[in-house]
């Protein structure tokens, strides 16, 4: 279970939208295998009676009031865009359906 296979790395690269080269997949499979082996130890101490901590400093009910603030101008919003038509971001054709 702690061994990462090549197929897994390919699958993960797909999930993460990174077009890894074959060589990268090879190297990464080996490297990640070692890393995962070493970090897998956490399972030993992470017993059922120990609760998980997501936030280092416990806070709760942090809200903001429903009051309008400042928005960016369209120019600012588009300022970093690799491609746009003056009002919207432009991307090449999409393969998948909406979620």
């Amino acid at each position: 279970m702690s061994e990462i296979t090549r197929e897994q790395v390919q699958h993960l690269a797909g999930l993460a939208r990174i077009a890894l080269t074959e060589a990268e997949i090879d190297t990464m499979t080996a490297e990640l295998g070692h890393i995962v082996d070493s970090v897998a130890k956490v399972r030993e101490v992470a017993t059922d009676d120990v609760p998980a901590t997501s936030h280092p400093i416990p806070l709760e009910n942090v809200f903001r009031p429903d009051v309008v603030g400042q928005t960016l101008t369209a120019e600012q919003a588009l300022s970093g865009a690799p491609d746009h038509d003056g009002s919207r971001f432009r991307v090449s054709a999409i393969l998948g359906e909406e979620q």
């Binding site: 993460a16 897998a40 130890k41 956490v42 120990v50 901590t53 280092p56 400093i57 942090v62 970093g80």
Partner: protein, 516 residues
């Protein structure tokens, strides 16, 4: 007399005094630092971008001061800013190709605070890509070189900020610390760096690595300087939900208290057994033992503390960080900002995203994204990410138990001195071990400081001592840190950074002026 070479050797506190007294102008101070950058940064490569607006900003501060406006203590003092922070007037790349040239349409909250306090931004400093690394070798723009020895690493991920300050290119810098990225570079460059209590400094505008671990903090050559900067950047930010609402004491005052003498009397200092052991360089351990003796002689009670869960801290960290990072870095997809790479022959947006991320991310970033994706995937969550979050609980419990017995914990800030460039870059696991002493504080959210503690015998390179305090106990880091700094400097007869080699050929007056 405003000898420009000596201006760069002044501390921020001293600059503050002279600026307020009108002995020197901000323009002169800023110009001196810009000149210094020009003289040495070709070798050091601490900066990715030097601000074109610095002199104008300085001039504006001078004008307002002359007009009688009341200004803050650091007004007119130059500062370098780690490139992980968004600046509306300078590119913010986070050390990555995927953000090359990106200028944000907004300032990070801490940057806004700097500007409001009238500090003068000098430029953006180099870093490991997306703050992932311990040597700054993973910057997409080339490494930064340690001013103590240019063939060595300056630490990471904030090697640029630490080197800038160590090379006298800036009196102050801002860094970020997720697993030691401020403290470890501080140790290997003989400078001071602080990771504040999680939530005490706003993360809004700090390009996220691991949301539950990241914190922005000060970098300087003296403890007092970091305290003064910390006072400017701390405080609640409604734009950051994890931001604490606490009112903070004056850290400047806390540092001055440490410098007033006698501050270590009766203080219970806990030495963490698990953070001072095998794999640590002999010279580091020797300096550390001496520092403990010094504190003991000053009245501190040294207590040995055991924190068994720390053995698993690195493993937990290298699951939590990649998991959160894999999600935080998903936004770099060629659509709204940053790099866009279109594969040959075109392609769907999915193809463009994948090609962009392949070209735009470096090997360490890709490694951690894949690892993080794995740790979160269906079927693996409980074993990896879920388990790591439980180790975090155990680490917090160990700290809580420790702080029941002692007022502050200490350890070396890094297990070794600066290693050579290229030495560990092909061994990720070896690289990860550099953070062994700093990671526990990030997991628990507690604050930590690194203070220079001397040069290692075997290589003459700097080492640092880390103090850790309970959450919200940042003030005592400044008090005890300043106290130790003073004791050490009294013992040496000089500061540690003054022993750093001359970098500029035209640098003649430094050695004779009685530098900092």
């Amino acid at each position: 007399m405003t000898d420009t070479t000596s201006l760069v050797h002044l501390s921020a506190a001293e600059l503050s005094t002279r600026l307020a007294a009108g002995d020197v102008s901000s323009v002169d101070v800023t110009r001196a630092h810009l000149d210094r950058i020009e003289a040495v940064d070709g070798d050091v490569h601490a900066f990715l971008h030097v601000s074109a607006a610095a002199l104008d900003t300085a001039a504006d501060v001078d004008r307002r001061r002359a007009a009688g406006e009341a200004l803050g203590p650091l007004a007119g003092v130059p500062i370098a800013i780690k490139d992980v922070l968004c600046t509306i007037d300078m590119p913010s790349t986070s050390g990555s190709k995927i953000l090359e040239g990106w200028v944000p349409p907004y300032d990070a909250t801490v940057v806004a605070k700097l500007r409001a306090a009238d500090l003068v931004p000098l430029g953006k400093t180099n870093m490991d890509e997306f703050a992932m690394g311990s040597s700054t070798e993973f910057s997409a723009y080339g490494p930064t070189h340690n001013p103590w020895s240019l063939d060595r690493i300056p630490g990471g991920s904030g090697g640029g900020s630490a080197a800038a300050v160590a090379a006298f290119e800036a009196p102050l810098a801002l860094g970020s610390d997720t697993g030691g990225s401020i403290r470890q570079p501080g140790a290997v460059t003989g400078t001071v760096g602080v990771k504040p209590t999680y939530g005490s400094v706003s993360r809004y505008g700090a390009i996220a690595l691991a949301s539950s671990l990241d914190q922005v903090g000060p970098v300087s050559r003296t403890v007092l300087d970091s305290a003064m900067l910390h006072d400017v950047i701390t405080g609640h930010d409604p734009r950051d939900s994890t931001s604490l609402r606490d009112a903070w004491p004056s850290f400047t005052e806390a540092a001055r208290t440490g410098l007033a003498g006698g501050a270590l009397k009766g203080v219970r200092v806990g030495v963490v057994r698990e953070l001072n052991g095998e794999g640590f360089q002999a010279g580091v351990k020797a300096r550390f033992a001496e520092a403990l003796e010094l504190m003991s002689a000053a009245g501190a009670e040294i207590v040995e503390i055991s924190a068994p869960s720390f053995e698993h801290a690195i493993s937990a960290y290298y699951l939590i960080l990649p998991a959160e990072a894999s999600s935080n870095l998903a936004k770099f997809d060629s659509v709204r900002f940053g790099l866009r790479v279109v594969p040959e022959g075109g392609g769907t947006v999915e193809d463009v995203m994948a090609a962009t991320r392949e070209a735009g991310f470096g090997p360490e970033v890709k490694r951690r994204i894949i690892l993080g994706t794995y740790a979160l995937s269906a079927g693996y969550y409980d074993a990896y990410y879920g388990s790591a979050q439980k180790v975090r609980t155990l680490v917090q419990r160990d700290f809580a138990a420790a702080f029941d017995q002692v007022d502050v914990l200490v350890s070396p800030s890094a297990p070794t001195t600066a290693f050579r460039l290229g030495e560990k870059i092909d061994d990720p696991l070896a690289m990860y071990l550099n953070d062994i002493t700093t990671i526990p504080a990030n997991l628990a959210g507690i604050p930590g400081i690194t203070v220079p503690m001397g040069l290692a015998e075997e290589d003459g390179l700097p080492t640092g001592l880390q103090f850790m305090a309970p959450a919200r106990g940042d003030a005592r880091l400044y008090t005890y840190g300043a106290a130790l700094e003073q004791l050490l400097e009294q013992g040496w007869g000089h500061t540690l950074i003054s022993r750093a080699p001359d970098l500029s050929a035209t640098e003649q007056t430094a050695a004779t002026e009685g530098v900092i």
